[in-house]
């Protein structure tokens, strides 16, 4: 049984059609890519899955639960996490606090505990601290723990965003153009990183990307969107040969990149 099932997902902004009849069956441990020209509705799909928008029509079944109408934080806490197209770290917070903040749902202690500094509070905080530090050290960020995240170099910020996402013990990871603004060498690094993360935390990943090299390199399956509609689906090779895709997308991509 698939971990994520999206049926007939449709969303309108007023009159504008952002996503139309989007379907997806995602098996556990899959890594699938969604590509398509700007404004094709890729990010909108992520926003619909994570509850930022309420879809006009359709269902999103994750682990047997329908996510439609759920609060974003509930969805995140239940294992669907995402990164952002344009980095959205908490700039003024330290690297460590960025991760600890993401542990919000992990901490099992009430306000009263917090205000009275009960034993429970201390043990929870201690736990979260260690967890966060371990996570950071997996990504070699532990020595920067006390740095303000805005002072990190771009590549590390991207990495930190992934760490922050992982803090919620996710099952499904949504990566929104992780390679945006990276140079070729960084991209190859990223490819390895994604693969490694996938294995390490046995994740299922949906990847939105413009960088054909990345998508073709690591995705097992690719869906192509254009004006909110799915125009093609299949393995990287199939996609590369699909005439509609070439005309709708790859054509521009050649001089685009």
């Amino acid at each position: 049984m698939p971990i994520l099932q999206i049926k007939g997902l449709t969303h309108f902004f007023g009159g504008l059609r952002a996503v139309f009849d989007f379907n997806l069956d995602l098996e556990l441990g899959e890594l699938i890519g969604i590509i398509g020209p700007n404004g094709a509705g890729k990010t909108t799909i992520f926003n619909l899955i994570t509850g930022v928008y309420r879809p006009t029509k359709g269902n999103i079944i994750f682990d047997g639960v329908n996510l439609v109408g759920k609060e974003s934080n509930w969805i995140i806490a239940h294992g669907v996490v995402r990164t952002f197209q344009n980095i959205r770290l908490f700039k003024e917070l330290s690297v460590l606090d960025n991760v600890r903040t993401a542990c919000y749902s992990q901490i099992k202690c009430s306000v009263v505990d917090a205000l009275l500094h009960s034993a429970r509070f201390h043990q929870e905080e201690e736990r979260i601290l260690n967890e966060a530090m371990e996570l950071l050290s997996l990504f070699n960020l532990e020595r920067l723990a006390d740095e303000k995240s805005k002072n990190l170099p771009y590549g590390l910020q991207r990495r930190l965003e992934i760490v922050r996402a992982l803090a919620n013990h996710p099952k499904l990871l949504l990566l929104d153009e992780p390679a945006a603004g990276m140079n070729p060498s960084e991209i190859s690094g990223l490819m390895e990183l994604i693969q490694w993360v996938k294995e390490k935390f046995n994740l299922t990943i949906i990847l939105i990307e413009h960088q054909m090299r990345l998508v073709m390199g690591i995705c097992q399956r690719i869906k192509v969107l254009d004006f909110g509609e799915t125009i093609a689906e299949g393995s990287p090779i199939e996609i590369q040969q699909n005439p509609r895709v070439i005309e709708a997308y790859l054509g521009e991509e050649e001089h685009g990149d």
Binding site: A77, R88, A102, Y104, N130, M133, R164
Partner: protein, 367 residues
Amino acid sequence: MTTKGITQLSGLRDKFKKRQWALALALVFLFALTFLIPRYGLLNEYVQLIIIYIGINIIMAVSLNMVNGYMGDFSLGHAGFMLIGAYVSSILTVWVFPRNWNPILTSAILFPIAVTAGGLAAALASLIVAFPSFKTRGDYLALVTLAFNMICVSVVQNIEAIGAGRGFMGMKKLTTMPWVFIWALIAIWVIRSFVYSNFGRGTVSIREDETAAELVGVNTRHVKVLTFVISSFFAGIGGALFAHILQFITPNTFQLQKNVDFLVMVYLGGMGSIGGSILGAVTYTVILELLREALTILGTFPIFASIPSLEVWRWVLAPLLLILLMIYRNQGIMGLREFGFLVPFRDRFGARFWLKRRELTNANSSN
């Protein structure tokens, strides 16, 4: 290497412990002062009054900072919560509680109850502002809070039973220096504990990027409600203390002007910094009082004596200060920094500590 590490580790802890003890002692000493001063009249009553005002202002500024500084919302309704606290507590002490108890019991038992009740009432009222804050942010929320403030004022103005616009009185002078000290301490302690908990981190993440906060699993609604409730609880406390030092309150006392005073304190001290708010409250109150003195002295000189309302120039300062602050240093005195002694050990040295410990364990395993 290992031993070195251990000593370093324990050194870190001990240094911190020592600091905390010093702080505790300082507080005890200060507290002793707060009732030696009135007892033996070490300072004249007016100065005592100012000190009490400072204490109340600290409570107000620190609590306002929770919303305006840490959560990054813009509340213009703090005086409204103050009003609620003031009236509720006053009504209790004047009408509900026995008036001819012996003063010791009144001050030790009834007064704290009344003050707490005032705080709770304000906290309850804060929900009116908290729920809209789910949807609206920025300027619009500022307006919601402002409208709330104005409504509080005009509601009181329409309740004949409590003197309407003419004010309410009959409170005994129950606010004493020790009480203000204690309440200020509680306020600082509680707010600090909140800010350095996961809820506090949630609050700050809302300031930094609300959508992102929601999308890394922070229950922003929960956090917002908590922040507003706690913040306005202490605003209510401040109001209650205020009412029982002045022994007379009118709704007009809690108009926008009062909010602006608190805003100056918060932004002067620096947003998102408890230490800053304390600093701001003290500085601002003292400056205004010194100015009062200065102008009275100036007034004695013939040149200035001719000026009709020299006193008024005092009120020119507050807004001017704010404008200059906003233009030249909108971070305030402290910026987002914090006094070390206000930051819990874990949040201050946690990472370093963890690294050291790992170093040690590695070292151990290696030999």
